[in-house]
Amino acid sequence: MEWLDNYWSTYNTLVYSIGVHALLALSIWLTLACGLLSLANAAFMGIGAYVSALLSLQAGWPFAAVLAAAGVVPALVALIIGIPTLRLSGVYLAMATLAFGEVVRIIVLNLEITGGPEGLNGIPQSTQGWHILAILAFTIYGLARLRRSRVGRAFESIREDDVAASLMGIDVARHKLFAFVLGATIAGVAGGLNAHFTFFISPREYGFENAVDILTMAILGGIGSLVGPMRGATILTLLPELLRFLHEFRGVFNGIVLVLVVLFLPKGLWEPRRIKALFARGGRA
């Protein structure tokens, strides 16, 4: 069994990363499900990561409490900025959340307690595989329940036509805020988990590129189901490992994949409903 041990020792971080990325992709799925493009999830992840790391390093909180804080603090921030921001729609919201993310990054960069650009190191390695698994399972179950409920239907109706949804008696603003805050919570917990298996965090991990990475995972996998974002997270986490042979041109491949998926697979890599519809309508996509 030595090879198996070796295998696991080599790839456990990779597996952990898949789990954390899946959580992140699900966090953005929530806002996308309401038709909101929020680029703030990387910032929420960062807030969760910093809060949890500081509580571990300086206050010595137990890990469970640390993780809870990693979810609660971003949620509060999301609540505060969400109320004014979510009135915006489409690209304006995307840009406002992008600006918010930059502001968060700059604040973290200039604070004493966060270690500035040098970040925080020596974070205890508290995250175990089963933590990630349990939180991911809990999240998926919760979201699956949500999706099949009045809330999930409301999200979908808002995504399709928020005016019509509001006239069906749905409080659009509250649902959007709920999705935004819940997304921030999940992203924050993901950040807390990530900080506690990588030993080290720094502001550069939570910038625009990372927001785009998270978005790409969800879009690539398809946001028509919960499996989609997780599939996207898995593929995009493994892809760099599988594409090692491409060396300098790996980024080119990533970019092309993103374009191709948007062009030819608008619903992500696999969308059962769409494929069913494809047959039902005799090939008219």
Partner: protein, 256 residues
């Protein structure tokens, strides 16, 4: 039931509605007619809270609607359809109708998460009710179909069922027969009568005179943002102002 008084709306310098007053009585079918661009849809948008009035007020069953968000207006018991059908195309018919029941489905997050019996029962009941509403408009056999695949006329009927799901006391129909052929119009007229007979108040706006005259109990006429006449279909038919302002051109419109 619905009282509109001295309602005015202007966009920038452009006045769309001025001093509009009329009452929609409880029960029966009320029609607001007028040529295109008279401001009919603006009236609906003001009632449902999509727009804020520049002057005057609107009250429903004695309650002032000023400043209410669209969803709050719906929760008071007013539902509407749209001239350019706005169903949720990527959802099934059943889901479309269940969206309308949103406010009436009460279960908390814990019940939802635990999938408690109460929650399951509420969902099952909503589903039953949605099927029933679909059967009213004879679409129940297509409940699991994506709404996008429906024909134009069926999409309108789905929109009716969805609006009824909010349990309204007053249903606002925005040009329900726009874009339909005479046969479809007749079918839809029947549906509207049915809805009315089930105890829903109906307030519709329309520019197809024949349709309105054959359907409504009471009619108001809007022209250039002002009410120029109100009364029974017969009174309206014979009102010289209406004939001059509207009917003359309506005939041309019908011919085209």
């Amino acid at each position: 039931m619905l009282a509109i008084s001295k309602l005015g709306k202007h966009f920038g310098g452009l006045s769309v509605l001025e001093d509009v007053s009329f009452d929609v009585p409880a029960g029966g079918i009320f029609g607001l007619i007028g040529p295109n661009g008279a401001g009919k849809t603006t009236v609906f948008n003001l009632i449902t809270g999509l727009l804020k009035p520049s002057a005057g007020n609107i009250s429903f069953e004695g309650r002032d609607l000023a400043g209410l968000a669209p969803h709050s207006v719906t929760r008071l018991g007013i539902a509407r359809t749209f001239q350019n059908i706005r169903i949720f195309k990527e959802m099934t018919l059943l889901e479309n109708v269940m969206i309308g029941m949103h406010q009436h489905l009460a279960y908390g997050p814990v019940a939802l998460f635990l999938n408690s019996p109460a929650c399951r029962a509420a969902e099952a009941e909503a589903r039953q009710r949605a099927l029933e509403l679909l059967s009213w408009v004879r679409l129940d056999h297509r409940a699991e179909m994506l709404a996008d695949n429906l024909s134009y006329g069926d999409q309108r009927k789905l929109e009716f069922a969805r609006a009824l799901a909010t349990k309204p006391r007053l249903l606002l129909l925005d040009e329900p027969v726009a874009g339909m052929n005479p046969a479809e119009k007749t079918v839809l007229m029947e549906e509207i009568r049915n809805i009315c007979q089930r105890g829903f108040g109906v307030f519709l706006i329309e520019h197809d005179m024949r349709f309105v005259m054959g359907l409504c109990d009471r009619v108001a006429v809007l022209n250039f943002g002002r009410i120029i006449a109100e009364g029974s279909p017969d009174e309206i038919r014979n009102n010289p102002d209406v004939i001059e302002a509207y009917l003359g051109r309506e005939d041309e419109g019908q011919a085209s």
